[in-house]
């Protein structure tokens, strides 16, 4: 008996060191206004229901679902910006209490500080950490080069295109060498061509750094092209519908996986998963 229990503990700790993020039984709801709403008035709306999964170290996991499925809420919880009503989120076995400096966020609307040029926008997280100006700007320059923006250090965000602004957002998130990169529909606000270029470049950057990434998206193609695993969410309340491990992970960044015949069938499968719930 004792031996068995010990073994179980050993196994558990073994698992939790392998897992970078552990999401366990997370529930989240919001009070909504009494007026309007398609579910017959206001009250409490469950956004996420009993969500459990983990993300292994170095893995790129997509949270995929229609808008309103709570995937962004989940990401904000993983960033420590909001707390789950029930359940817990742990990073390397430590329960998350609030924002952590080693979890860095890339925002959908880029969220750069408009009065700062590129260099000091990228150096912003290090500035918060109290790093000296010369040192943090050196680090920032390094990441500006990685995202391909060298020569734009003195430009202001409004002087850059959307794609370039998001490159700044990615560079900023990388400066702290985060354990986890949390990306909230990072390419959702870009036009199709820019999005593709950024996806390709992001994969190259990611291949160099091998950071753990949680990637929120509503684009099936994007999820299939980028992810090791895709967690498909249902809507209202958001629940995990299925976890899919697309076989294209090994080919990322080398060839266009969208032309592969399996790509279509995977996309169709996910499309069907997302469609099922739409019928009332």
């Amino acid at each position: 008996m004792r031996n068995l229990a010990d073994n179980a503990v050993a196994e558990q700790t073994g698992a939790s060191t392998r897992a970078m993020i552990t999401v366990e039984g997370v529930h989240k709801g919001f009070n909504v206004r009494a007026t309007g709403g398609d579910d017959g008035g206001g009250g409490y709306m469950t956004v996420l229901q009993d969500v459990s999964f983990d993300v292994k170290e170095g893995e790129l996991v997509s949270l995929l679902g229609a808008s309103g499925c709570g995937k962004t809420t989940l990401l904000r919880m993983a960033a420590g910006l909001i707390k789950p009503d029930q359940g817990s989120i742990s990073i390397k076995g430590t329960r998350l209490q609030g924002p952590r400096k080693d979890l860095c966020m890339v925002f959908q609307n880029f969220s750069l500080l408009p009065w700062r040029p590129v260099l000091s926008n990228v150096a912003f997280p290090l500035e918060l950490d109290g790093m000296g100006k010369a040192e943090r700007e050196d680090v920032a320059r390094h990441y500006i080069e990685i995202v391909g923006l060298q020569g734009f250090e003195r430009h202001f965000p409004h002087e850059l295109s959307g794609g370039m602004q998001q490159r700044v957002g990615i560079a900023r998130a990388l400066t702290r060498k985060p354990l986890v990169l949390l990306m909230d529909e990072p390419f959702g606000a870009l036009d199709a061509q820019t999005r593709e270029t950024l996806q390709e470049d992001f994969i190259k950057i990611w291949a160099q750094l091998k950071t753990t990434v949680v990637f929120v998206t509503h684009s099936i193609d994007e999820a299939l092209m980028l992810s090791d695993r895709i967690i498909v969410f249902s809507s209202r309340p958001g629940r995990i519908k299925r976890t899919i491990a697309p076989p294209f992970a090994a080919l990322r960044g080398q060839e266009d996986v969208r032309v592969k015949p399996e790509f279509g069938s995977y996309a169709q499968e996910i499309r069907d998963l997302l469609r099922v719930e739409r019928t009332p």
Partner: protein, 278 residues
């Protein structure tokens, strides 16, 4: 291929550029027209002004002569200093005090709610109505003038700073939170810089109000300063001399506004060019 054949006829349709007309030449050089208009105005004024009764109207060369006499006698420089000092003090207090009060009521709800009625009441009352009371309390000299200037100039700074703080986009603050900034860092590095364009707009208004304030103050006290000169010479029907302080105030006003505009462009240029883009 299709594209080429479609653009072809358009290219041939293009007529060779006509020689630009005089009007277009002028349109491209607004300063030429501005300067000419002013010069023509002064010539016209000089010619017509000489024929009007000097009790009611004067003309540029007479004003210039009056300015020379008043400068020589030391009257104008003395008045200028008498007005400038309270103006500088009043405006500085308005700007610093306004920013501090604006930040405080924008940040702490307790202060916001408890000071709100007073600020609204003071803002709603035409401050000129309070001038006799202020003079009664603070006297006719510098203290009185400074108080009158503050009563006019502090409000735009308070209100602009306050709305600047209230308008900081939640998404900007969220950057700070997501990257683990402390509350003080969020204030220093996000809220305050985001407010700078608002504060600068408040300062621009404060300069205008401050100039009105100093003149109004001197009208009431009517002893010293540029405003005092205006009242004195208007009572003596010395129209040419009356124009001198008016013009000096005009020039000062333009200079101050330009200075603030320059500062504004430097400090919140990002905001201006951001607006142009979106």
């Amino acid at each position: 291929m299709n594209d080429a054949s479609m653009t072809e006829p358009r290219a041939t349709d293009m007529r060779p550029q006509e020689k630009p007309s005089v009007l277009e030449w002028l349109k491209a050089r607004p300063n030429v027209l501005r300067v000419s208009a002013v010069v023509i105005f002064f010539i016209w004024w000089e010619l017509v002004g000489r024929d009007v009764n000097p009790l009611f109207m004067t003309y540029p060369s007479a004003i210039f002569r009056a300015a020379w006499i008043m400068t020589q006698s030391g009257e104008l420089p003395k008045a200028l200093v008498a007005s400038s000092l309270p103006f500088a003090i009043g405006l500085s207090i308005s700007i610093f005090g306004g920013i501090v009060i604006g930040i405080l009521i924008g940040t702490f709800w307790f202060l916001e709610y408890s000071l709100d009625p007073f600020l609204n009441a003071l803002y709603a009352i035409p401050r000129v109505a309070l001038v006799p009371l202020i003079i009664l309390w603070a006297g006719l000299e510098t203290t009185g003038k400074v108080t009158i200037i503050i009563s006019l100039a502090i409000f735009p700074v308070i209100i602009n700073t306050y709305s600047g703080i209230k308008d900081v986009r939640g998404s900007l603050i969220e950057i700070g939170r997501a990257y683990g900034a402390t509350e003080i860092q969020i204030f220093q590095k996000i809220v305050l810089p985001a407010c700078v364009p608002y504060i600068m707009a408040g300062i621009r208004l404060a300069v205008g109000f401050g100039i009105i304030g100093i003149i109004v103050a001197e009208f009431f006290t009517a002893i010293t300063g540029l405003g005092g000169l205006i009242v004195f010479y208007s009572n003596n029907f010395a129209t040419a001399k009356l124009f001198v302080p008016v013009i000096v105030i005009g020039i000062l006003g333009i200079a101050m506004t330009q200075l603030v505009a320059m500062l504004e462009k430097r400090l919140s240029g990002w905001r201006i060019s951001e607006r142009e883009r979106f």
